[in-house]
């Protein structure tokens, strides 16, 4: 049965198509494993066997009728940020601890349409604000490689679920690194596509202009299959892009001869720990062996990405989270006086400290007299950061570096120091500010045998190329196949 949990999506799909196993059986196996192991990891907030199995049975009918697609019948763990009809959808917050969504997110609809099974809702930092999964109202998620360590965040539950083989694959969302950073810390693969490719409809907003959904899985090949389902125009999202449908698996087998990998000198400067640097160097050597060449590029505004991010993301968040007021859904304070008191108590009690902190930052930077100095300034710098990448891509095809400056830190180690926590997004947030696609793949281990992730940033809409680059590496290495259990 170990092979089942370690199987690739392609292998599972073949087994389902060949009637070696039914979706109901497959789903049941994963549900059993979740029941057994989740108490240790806390990767899932909600598991609903009845609803999952109903979908599995429907998938079995599709499979029997020969109308199956690549992911039909395959259980997928959904980040609890995606609204799913009839499912508790908490976004990791007390505020939504009683919110059973009456509608499906665009991403959920696409998985439903292809006949995938919703395996459960994964734990996450509250409203996706965090880099360690410690801000969740539903408690800390443990890193399957080392239970003392955080899994990263905000898609920590998703990364943990895939790494611990509690799910064949998962969805995540990435506003400043929330797919890539936990993927790196848990030793799995994850990709944030170009902004606008995956529908944000029904994906609970953190920072609208930065949020982007994406898949998290064991390998690049799995990611390609997942992207084929997740990417697509959604008329309900004004920022969703109308583009021709792509098959993200199409370039997986291409050789990497002549590929120019840009290495930003700012990413290889101080800040990166020795163990991470070693793993990254080894990975780059592997790429050189695969025929790629590396060139030094420069992204001079790199140090600005964190301050810019911590103006823009909280500003948008402060407004996006205003709808949580205890009037129409969600948590309402137990006791209160007048209307204003009801609002203030509801929001004080319903939000955790990190969310409140960011709402306050955002409120402040938008407030009268500060808007130009902070918000507009940050938007101008955002353009300079984007320009850095445009310039860099004149000299290279793809950019690589570490996903995170260090391997996973311990639970509690940074939770009292928001700035240290924020700095763990140093390499990842630029991709959100620019909208560029970026991914992380496992490239070995650092101190305490904790995983290291290689960050691959592509040019706009070059996901197929990035997956090819990642896949070729995974053809000659087996980091992605290693499991902590």
């Amino acid at each position: 049965m170990n092979t089942l949990f370690n199987a690739s999506l392609e292998q599972l799909s073949t087994q389902l198509a060949g009637k070696k196993i039914s979706s109901t059986e497959l789903t049941t196996e994963f549900l059993k494993r979740i029941q057994q192991l989740n108490p240790e990891y806390n990767a899932f907030i909600t598991v609903n066997e009845e609803m999952s199995l109903a979908q599995a049975q429907a998938a079995d009918k599709l499979l029997a009728s020969g109308k199956a697609n690549a992911l039909t019948g395959i259980p997928i763990a959904q980040k609890d940020i995606f609204c799913a009809k009839g499912w508790l959808t908490t976004c990791g917050s007390k505020m939504l601890s009683n919110f059973v969504s009456p509608y499906d997110a665009g991403v959920i609809e696409r998985f439903n349409q292809t006949g995938s099974v919703n395996l459960g809702k994964t734990n996450m930092d509250e409203f996706a604000m965090g880099s360690s999964n410690e801000t969740s109202y539903y408690g800390v998620v443990r890193n399957p490689w080392d239970r003392l360590a955080v899994p990263g965040g905000s898609s920590g539950g998703a990364a943990c679920a895939v790494a611990a083989r509690l799910a064949p694959a998962a969805t995540g969302t990435d506003t400043g690194g929330s797919i890539r950073q936990p993927a790196a810390l848990c030793g799995i693969s994850g990709i944030k596509p170009t902004y606008g490719l995956v529908s944000r409809y029904g994906m609970i907003a953190f920072a609208s202009s930065l949020d982007q959904g994406g898949p998290m899985a064991k390998s690049a090949e799995d990611l390609a299959l997942l992207l084929n389902v997740m990417v697509g125009f959604d008329p309900r999202d004004s920022t969703s892009l109308q583009r021709d449908i792509e098959d993200y698996t199409r370039d997986l087998q291409k050789p990497l001869n002549g590929l120019r990998i840009g290495l930003p000198k700012e990413y290889f400067a101080e800040g990166m720990s020795k163990d991470v640097e070693m793993a990254i160097e080894n990975a780059l050597n592997e790429y050189r062996k695969l025929g790629a060449q590396t060139v030094e590029v420069t992204l001079p505004n790199t140090p600005l990405s964190i301050p810019v991010y911590y103006v823009l993301a909280p500003a948008e968040a402060s407004s996006n989270l205003s709808r949580f007021d205890g009037v129409r859904y969600g948590y309402r304070a137990e006791s209160y006086g007048d209307l204003g008191d009801m609002y203030r108590k509801t929001r004080a009690q319903g939000f955790g400290p990190e969310v409140k902190r960011r709402i306050l930052i955002g409120t402040y930077v938008l407030s009268h007299g500060y808007y130009d100095a902070y918000y507009i300034k940050a938007q101008k710098l955002r353009r300079l950061i984007a320009q850095d990448f445009t310039d860099a891509y004149k000299q290279c095809d793809i950019i690589m570096g570490p996903t995170t400056p260090t391997v996973a830190f311990n639970v509690g180690e940074k939770s009292g120091d928001p700035i240290q926590m924020y700095l763990s997004d140093i390499y990842t947030s630029a991709a959100n500010l620019t909208g560029l696609p970026a991914m992380s793949i496992p490239v070995g281990f650092g101190d305490q045998h904790r995983p290291v992730g290689l960050h691959i940033i592509g040019n706009y809409f070059r996901e197929a190329q990035m997956l090819n680059v990642a896949h070729q590496y995974q053809q000659t290495t087996d980091w992605h196949q290693q499991s902590p259990l």
Binding site: S101, Y103, D237, S238, R323, L366
Partner: protein, 479 residues
Amino acid sequence: MQWEIVIGLEVHTQLSTQSKIFSGASTAYGAAPNTQACVIDLALPGVLPVLNKGAVERAIKFGLSVGAKINSPSIFARKNYFYPDLPKGYQISQYELPVVQGGSIKIEVDGIEKTIRLTRAHLEEDAGKSLHEDFHGMSGIDLNRAGTPLLEIVSEPDLRSSAEAVAYAKTLHSLVRWIGICDGNMQEGSFRCDANVSVRPRGQEKFGTRCEIKNLNSFRFLEKAIDYEARRQIDILEDGGAIRQETRLYDANKDETRTMRTKEDANDYRYFPDPDLLPLEISPDWIGHIASSLPELPQVREDRYVSELSLTAYDAAVLTSSREIADYFEATVRVLPTQAKLCANWIMGDVMAQLNKEGIEIPACPIQPDSLAALLTRISDGTISGKAAKAVFESLWHGELNKDVDAIIAAKGLKQISDDGAIDKIIDQVLQANPQQVADYRNGKEKAFNSLVGQIMKATQGKANPAQVHAILKKKLEQ
């Protein structure tokens, strides 16, 4: 001291779209609470706005009809504040770069024409409603109206009296209905005014401190609120006091304004561009297409009625006070191009009086323009007298004889006697029967003429053409 009142108006017009500005929910008025509030209007977690083309089209129409600039791109911004009727905790509006910039409107007060400049008009969403009936000490929220498209039209402080403000509001009200972007129903809140009022010593250039009066939902309240507010400010200043900038509410029952919130506790709205919406580009092609579909504007039509149809300025203004009336007149005069004055008189007289009496609007008038034109044709060609025409009008109104004018005239025997021979004969009979009056007339008693006319009309049961009677009688008496 002589005081000058300075007024600027902000008018919220509800745009007459089928669906809401950012969702596909219906905008129909009067539905059961919250049955037209979809997940987007309710601001459920994760939902997103998509802009309604119909709302943008209406904003462009307005801009073109006031000679404004259509901004492209224009930007949607979030206005952040908490209120239970505002589900997202922010209103999607426009701040910098509204869709419509500038433009102007001509008004007329006491025969004096004045141009009022517009600052801007921007698209935004309406809020829901708080119902203040008592639910065990709580309020009920109905979000059906949340997300209804509004065009907020902001004027420069160019108005100098409540009469000018009302004239401006009425002109605007007529215009938005004329171009078909708003139903103008003030009872249902489709056209709502806020007034910024200040006073200054006459001759002073600097504006005084202004107060904004909210909640002015009729022209009468607008007038009364401005008058009250100006008086209040003047009284304070004359007592040596100072005006405090604030938002005030007009209480129609007490006919007074009272403080709603002061500048100190005014909201810090934290406007910023809505990241869920992209810059709105409006192509010259689209603007051109809308421009070509715009109806002839009221001002243009009013001028044309004077210059081409030789109507008086008063008649032209009344007939263009609404698109429906003007179109009714237009359809009537099309049949009788040389009788514009006759058409105008009948529409402004009998038609309007009867509509008023029955409390209906002109689109529901039982006499359609073609029927009225048929009736007026019979007056102008001498078939019936003006008096007889009133009877035909009655019949038409009540739908008699399939509203066939000639059939009604025939059935009622209202046809005028215009045959010279027939009239001649009757006159001869009357003259013979009244030798004394004939003699009186010939002796210079002019009155006797009218008496003879009366007798002739009586003898024809009023059907003789009076003009002919006059001419023939005169000729005979002077023989």
